[in-house]
Amino acid sequence: MGATPLSWYLALSAVLFTIGALGVLIRRNLIVIFMAIELMLNAVNLTFVTFSRNLGSMDGQVIVFFVIAVAAAEAAVGLAIILELFRVRATTNADEVTSLRW
């Protein structure tokens, strides 16, 4: 058994990204939309790590480090916004929150 070709990792990453995009498009619950975004971020991370291995350079992994840091910050702020929204409108359905002011 040889090693797995790197293009397989890229294919897995493409499939995960597509699933995440589908989730953002079809789901109406803001929290689940958020999870789908995390899914897409992770798919991109897999691509970065694969190319880092492909090129023999650590730069891809450094960038993934930053992506994880930014994603953590984004999750904290985003969930705080969803909490505040729920307090004001008592919903997490994206279709019921279409106006920018109330």
Partner: protein, 163 residues
């Protein structure tokens, strides 16, 4: 990693990802997310990214998903009967997703080649990554710490009850 192991892990990862997107109960979605993140951590390990794999488990599966579960618990979300949009939206979203998938696969048709034949000494070691982080990438690293601080303050300011 041997191709059979990869395929088994890949099928599990896709199944977990589909759970995140398609399950009506948000708690199940969150658990699917945990499974996806753990399986991806295994893939990172097989690609010589040991620090990234550890961070994936600690930061993502540990902190971020717990945050998600906390919010789901605080909001006391019921199982969503109208979890997805109407048929019109589903058709449009399905077409758009198929187009995106076809686009990505078309990009993959060009062979990227295998792994680098001669990896530099210390490739994938945490020490090598840290050395880059504290030399070439020092400024972005410090900016990331600032970003995290701003995010913490922002999250507290937003989520705090109004006085």
């Amino acid at each position: 990693m041997n191709p059979m192991t990869f395929l088994v892990l890949a099928v599990l990862t896709v199944a977990a990802a589909l759970t995140v997107v398609l399950h009506r109960n948000p708690v199940h979605s969150a658990l699917g997310l945990v499974a996806t993140l753990f399986l991806l951590a295994v893939q990172f390990l097989s690609l010589d990214a040991e620090l990234i794999a550890a961070l994936q488990v600690i930061v993502y599966a540990g902190a971020v998903v717990v945050l998600f579960l906390f919010v789901i618990m605080l909001l006391n979300l019921e199982v969503d009967v109208r979890a997805v949009g109407g048929p019109m939206l589903l058709a449009t979203a399905g077409a758009a997703t198929l187009a995106l998938g076809a686009f990505l696969v078309a990009g993959l048709r060009r062979d990227v080649g295998g792994a680098a034949a001669d990896l530099p000494v210390g490739f994938g070691r945490t020490a090598t990554l840290a050395e880059r982080l504290f030399t070439i990438y020092l400024l972005p690293f410090e900016l990331a710490s600032l970003l995290l601080l701003v995010a913490i303050v922002g999250a507290v300011a937003l989520a705090r009850r109004r006085i």
